[in-house]
């Protein structure tokens, strides 16, 4: 089936995207496949075929269900896959022009300390429970930019916390993670991610664990922060409404593959792939009045699986 070119969408946003695409992308992933060990002799092919690009200043969403491989893709780009030889990564991940698949750990250290920051769903597993928040932010700030002797009085630390929407930064810097609310902890993660002044922030379900009112505020903080710093954003979520509100372009993943990509509004309003349509139908059935609750039944899933298997190798450009 030919889907060579999309319908002409004459919005300024798309025109700007086209212009941006002429510059070399910040991240360019092609033919990515990742196998993760699940036991002594077993593994799972978490990512089968992923290609994606992130340009400077761009906001890209990755959506899909649990197990679609979206988080593993994000971790692969951030160089945060478990460092054992049994994790097999194939294909290409180019960051700032440099090929990172097979690159030495030192090269990844440089990427993680300067180019890519990551925000996870659960701050408590990421933050050190016995270290004050200010000190943890300070660790992420390049030594040359640190000024004060103590984290709580370091203007660079306080400015970073404030940039992440934490007012009263001096007081918060003195706190331990467990003394903060969920929304504040998530902002601390944003602070740690931006402390490195990275070119790209990868946020994996950053607000999924939060209540709606707090989610709104944390998303607003993330939105303002990346806009102000000109940081690129990859937002990974199963929540289409969150991704729709935050991103310019979107990749839809299913069973380890990107099955559809394009301008976010375009894809959500005129989905073309059978899976994207099914996903949107189930999401809308949960909220639209008059729509009967609709889930992807095993029969529908079989059809999608066949379509995805059959569509392999027919990648349109």
């Amino acid at each position: 089936m030919s889907t060579a070119t999309g319908p002409a969408v004459s919005t300024d946003r798309v025109t700007a995207d086209r212009a941006e695409r002429d510059a070399p992308p910040l991240v360019s992933v092609a033919g990515l496949a990742v196998a993760l060990p699940t036991g002594p002799r077993t593994e799972v092919q978490a990512v089968r075929s992923v290609g994606l690009e992130v340009h400077r200043g761009e906001r890209v969403g990755i959506v899909g269900e649990s197990g679609s491989g979206k988080s593993v893709t994000g971790r692969a780009i951030a160089g945060l896959l478990p460092g054992t030889p049994r994790v097999r990564v194939e294909g290409s991940i180019r960051i700032d022009g440099r090929e990172m698949v097979g690159a030495p750990p030192r090269a990844w250290d440089a990427v993680r300390s300067r180019t890519v920051g990551m925000i996870f769903q659960d701050p408590l597993t990421f933050l050190n429970p016995v270290m004050k928040v200010g000190a943890q932010v300070r660790e992420a700030i390049a030594p040359a930019r640190r000024t004060g002797r103590r984290a709580a009085s370091d203007p660079a630390v306080l400015a970073t916390l404030e940039q992440a929407g934490l007012e009263d930064a001096a007081r918060i810097a003195q706190r331990f993670p467990h003394e903060l609310s969920g929304g504040m902890r998530q902002r601390v993660l944003i602070a740690i991610a931006i402390a490195k002044q990275p070119d790209l922030i990868i946020a994996d379900e950053p607000t999924t664990a939060l209540d709606a009112t707090i989610q709104r505020r944390v998303l607003a903080t993330l939105d303002e922060t990346v806009a102000r710093l000109g940081t690129s954003l990859v937002l990974i979520s199963h929540d289409l409404a969150v991704v729709a509100s935050m991103t310019d372009r979107i990749y839809v993943m299913y069973a380890g593959r990107v099955v559809e990509s394009g301008a976010t509004r375009d894809v959500l309003e005129r989905p073309r792939h059978v899976y994207t349509r099914a996903l949107l139908r189930s999401v809308r059935s949960l909220t639209d009045a008059g729509e009967e609750l609709w889930s992807i039944t095993p029969d529908v899933r079989r059809g999608i699986d066949e379509a995805v298997a059959g569509g392999e190798g027919h990648r349109a450009t």
Partner: protein, 276 residues
């Protein structure tokens, strides 16, 4: 048959000596078989404590929770037995509620035996199979032999529902039972729950922070904030004309995907990876 809270309250003593924490304050509600009552609120609103009070897992410190008119705290053994069988819990995080070393069949079969629903291996297995088929884990024989780790999140959640309905309860108290699920799985579990009302007359107390879902499935809605029920009414009343400012702020915060645009000029369906 009715489960009701009458000005029920729960105080927790504070460890820091700074006065007790009032987790639930004067909560009143009632649910009967066939009804769908939702309790919504954010973290810390006391909704999960209230759920546990309704299940008799947390004793009330004021007011009462009654089942068929009898205070849960004053039930004799046989009354308690009927209550434990008639009111079931489905809680969030199926991986934490299922024994990882027991197969699905063993976990459900154990409860069948414990409550004397059936005796003898074949009869117990038949009950287990019936429950698994009801939650569409079918063919049941395939799923009965699996361990929790061999199931997806949605399947584990359905196992918990199967474990609850195998006792043929009248009322299920579900605390964030679908919040962690993908949209498609969530829709499937919610449909199953509605289906159980139609076929078995099951009633629900459905506790969640997920408002769009509540709007879709609940008939009555209670809104909790800081331990208190601040608003209650039919789903239409609460969603279309919220009276309490907190309810309004909750509704305003929800991010919902816009409705599908009209299908004019719809793009052709594609089965190939599509980029544009």
């Amino acid at each position: 048959m009715r489960l009701e809270a009458d000005a029920a309250g729960k105080e927790f003593r504070s460890r820091h000596g700074s006065g007790p924490v009032r987790a639930v304050i004067d909560a009143s509600l009632s649910v009967s078989p066939g009804e769908f009552v939702a309790i919504v609120g954010e973290s810390g609103s006391g909704k999960s404590t209230l759920a546990r009070m309704l299940l008799g897992l947390v004793p009330t410190t004021s007011g009462s929770v009654r089942f068929d008119g009898v205070d849960l705290g004053r039930m004799d053994r046989s009354q308690l037995r009927v209550f434990r069988r008639s009111v079931q819990a489905v809680l969030q995080d199926p991986s934490g509620s299922l024994n990882p070393r027991k197969t699905v069949g063993a976990a459900i079969g154990e409860i069948v035996r414990l409550h004397g629903i059936a005796r003898g291996r074949e009869a117990v297995e038949a009950e287990v199979a019936r429950a698994l088929e009801l939650v569409r884990l079918s063919p049941a024989a395939d799923y009965a032999d699996r361990y929790p780790s061999q199931l997806s999140g949605g399947q584990r959640q359905r196992v918990l529902i199967a474990r609850a309905i195998v006792l043929q309860p009248q009322i299920i108290v579900a605390d964030e039972a679908v919040s962690a699920l993908d949209a498609s799985v969530k829709a499937g579990v919610l449909r199953l729950m509605a289906d159980l009302t139609d076929r078995l007359g099951v009633g629900y107390v459905f506790i969640t922070h997920d408002l769009p879902v509540v709007k879709k499935v609940a008939r009555r809605v209670l809104v909790m904030k800081s331990g208190e029920i601040v608003e209650s009414g039919t789903a239409e009343q609460v969603f279309d004309a919220p009276r309490h400012p907190y309810t309004r702020s909750l509704l305003d915060s929800e991010l919902v995907l816009d409705s599908a645009p009209p299908q004019s000029g719809a793009a052709p369906v594609s089965t190939a990876p599509t980029e544009r």
